[in-house]
Symmetry: none
Subunit: 204 residues, 4 copies
DNA sequence: CCGTAATCGAGACGGTACGTCGCGTCTTGTG
DNA sequence: CACAAGACGCGACGTACCGTCTCGATTACGG
């Protein structure tokens, strides 16, 4: 196993990196992930193919980084502090608010195409799947874990409930409807999910 | 809009169809979906490529039909009556039993590889995704709808609860963990899901 | 070496045979020999492919027979007696007349396309080439041999001259110009050929 | 009319070009032109198919260039000066000598297979035919034109004779016998042709 | 501040698979 | 039994991209 001598990252062209991100996201949005090719990204970015292969092992990795970059930038715009689920004391209301915002994001085509593509690739490409989960999904889910734990400490959730499992009661149904088109995703729907699920983990 | 004259299905070679199903499923299991090619399926099945393209538009469609055929055959083996979730009167016990069986199936590599591949393809290929859901997923989910409705009539579930949404409380978390590797899937896990979720939709 | 049992020629469909000839000649004239296919001939003739393969081993053979049939028919039209080069006593005049008629025929697209195609196929397919020569070319050349021999007996050609070689002096140049487009073919040209060549074989 | 951007010829791989020439000539000699495929040439040359299609539009063009290259190389070996028909003063002897050499070449399978294939293709493919004639055939014929003109100036040939036509009297018969197998080609035969034809154009 | 080594754009290369066309054989009714 | 229709196994077509590999031209550092 001989690895290439790693390229010198300090000499890397920032302009190219950005152009590649933009081209990748644009192409996935325009023509879909499967018809997006490394060659196409390079041409659109005005970049040699080798410049892509020098820094990323595959088009999936390019897209993952591009999307992470996009998410980071969006977060920076939305307020510089690390994101956190609000805690007004009313768990149901807080969860409903967050899920409504998530619904809006999932319906935004700017996010839909690339994240759906990455999710799809992740199903079949184990390695990428893990990175997708670790860098994008799990950090989001941990926000729910923290919020649920806070509620637990105040007695709004039964103490023996595992928050990591509990959060799936309202997050996973939404995820599945979105990914697999098994049903419409609306604010009313997520409200209902919270209503059903929260009572299940409340003290009896 | 010129469509080819549709081939004459009555002349179709049953032997080839079966060989193609077998080859497709075997290859996906052995080398994975992305490295499975139409050419490879044809070669393994001892069939001309054109015989595949005559009847299916893409490898995803071949695999979908092959998998539907497999599922149908498995159902036929397991007893000829249409499958139904058992109703012992104890909703929690019944759901746990069914979900445990589902867990076992999801861990069986014979089902895992092709169904994961189809799910992945379905994320990105809308048309195929709808067929995947309509022919494989939704029929399963309707079994839960019926079982929950029966429980509802007996007062074990609140009357205003929508069973189609309620079932997602325990099915979707399992689906997500399986698809996205967001956590281990075990009998204990699905038992917990039922415990959490069922109380949420029970009469208060 | 097992030959198929030969099909029963008495039951052969005359209508199909004619339709195949017509279709073959028409297609070669319209789209050229290489783009003419057995499938295309069958479709155009309203005939099953097997009906072609039952009676001919290849498309070249179909075309050869079709062309022989055409030539025969043309000959029948032009007068029922077996064709012969006229003998007015003036060898030069007779040869010029015949060659002028040949030029006209070579320029007729009804003959040009198929005979050129057959010639081409014959270059590369030895077996067909021999049949082409034996059935079409050589019979024509033998007419010249007979006419030259008659002239020889009358002392218009040196006795030791081989007529089979002598005829090539004016026939082959025309053939080459036609086949390989190495020069224009006109009445003046063939007249000149006869002038040059005939003097070479005349008594000195 | 959208033409591809022409590939950059300065970047062309000389090694590949030579390997393709060699493979094409070898295959045509070994298995014949019709059974020679672009795929086969690529495989034998250890080259991607695209590398062939990048530089040539068809296998006929590959073979034409390969053969031109071969002819050029053979000429280079045989002495660097441009080839010319010898002029000993004895026209008949000179022509006989050259034609005998031509006979030997036509019987050499190294030349026979590819040039026969090219001639055949040229009959049916007009464009290629013209290139075949212009680059291979006509230059040879012009040698005869020059030699005949020299003879004419010395009074060995009638002044009103057109050398371009006269040369066909001995060249075309040989060509036809070779191409169409209408008769054996030997030294005796070409000697006879010269004897017959030359007298026809000599002063009377 | 200037040589020089790395990255860059460009794109040719050896490959693999694509989806199509046509081959020649085989199969299935029909007259 | 020949026929029309056409599905079949097969092989080649010409194209699209893959990931690797040169090529100068550009660039930014370290002597």
């Amino acid at each position: 196993m001989v690895d290439k001598p790693a390229p010198d990252a300090t000499r890397r062209s920032e302009r190219s990196r950005r152009a590649i991100y933009d081209a990748a996201l644009a192409l996935v949005a325009e023509i879909g992930y499967p018809r997006t090719t490394v060659e196409g990204i390079a041409a659109r970015a005005g970049v040699g193919k080798q410049t892509i292969y020098r820094w990323w092992p595959s088009k999936a990795d390019v897209l993952l980084e591009a999307f992470l970059d996009l998410a980071e930038e969006a977060a920076r715009e939305a307020g510089h502090q690390p994101y956190e689920i609000p805690d007004t004391g009313d768990l149901a209301a807080d969860l409903k608010a967050v899920l409504r915002a998530t619904v809006d994001e999932l319906l935004d085509p700017r996010f839909d195409a690339p994240s759906r593509a990455l999710a799809a690739e992740g199903l079949v490409n184990e390695e990428l799947g893990r990175r997708f989960v670790a860098h994008l999904l799990e950090p989001q889910l941990q926000l729910y874990v923290r919020r649920l734990r806070a509620a637990q400490e105040r007695g709004a959730v039964r103490p023996e409930v595992d928050p990591r499992i509990a959060l799936e009661l309202f997050v996973s149904p939404l995820a599945q409807r979105w990914l697999q088109h098994t049903g419409p995703i609306t604010h009313a729907y997520t409200d209902t999910l919270v209503d059903y699920a929260l009572y299940g983990i409340a003290p009896r």
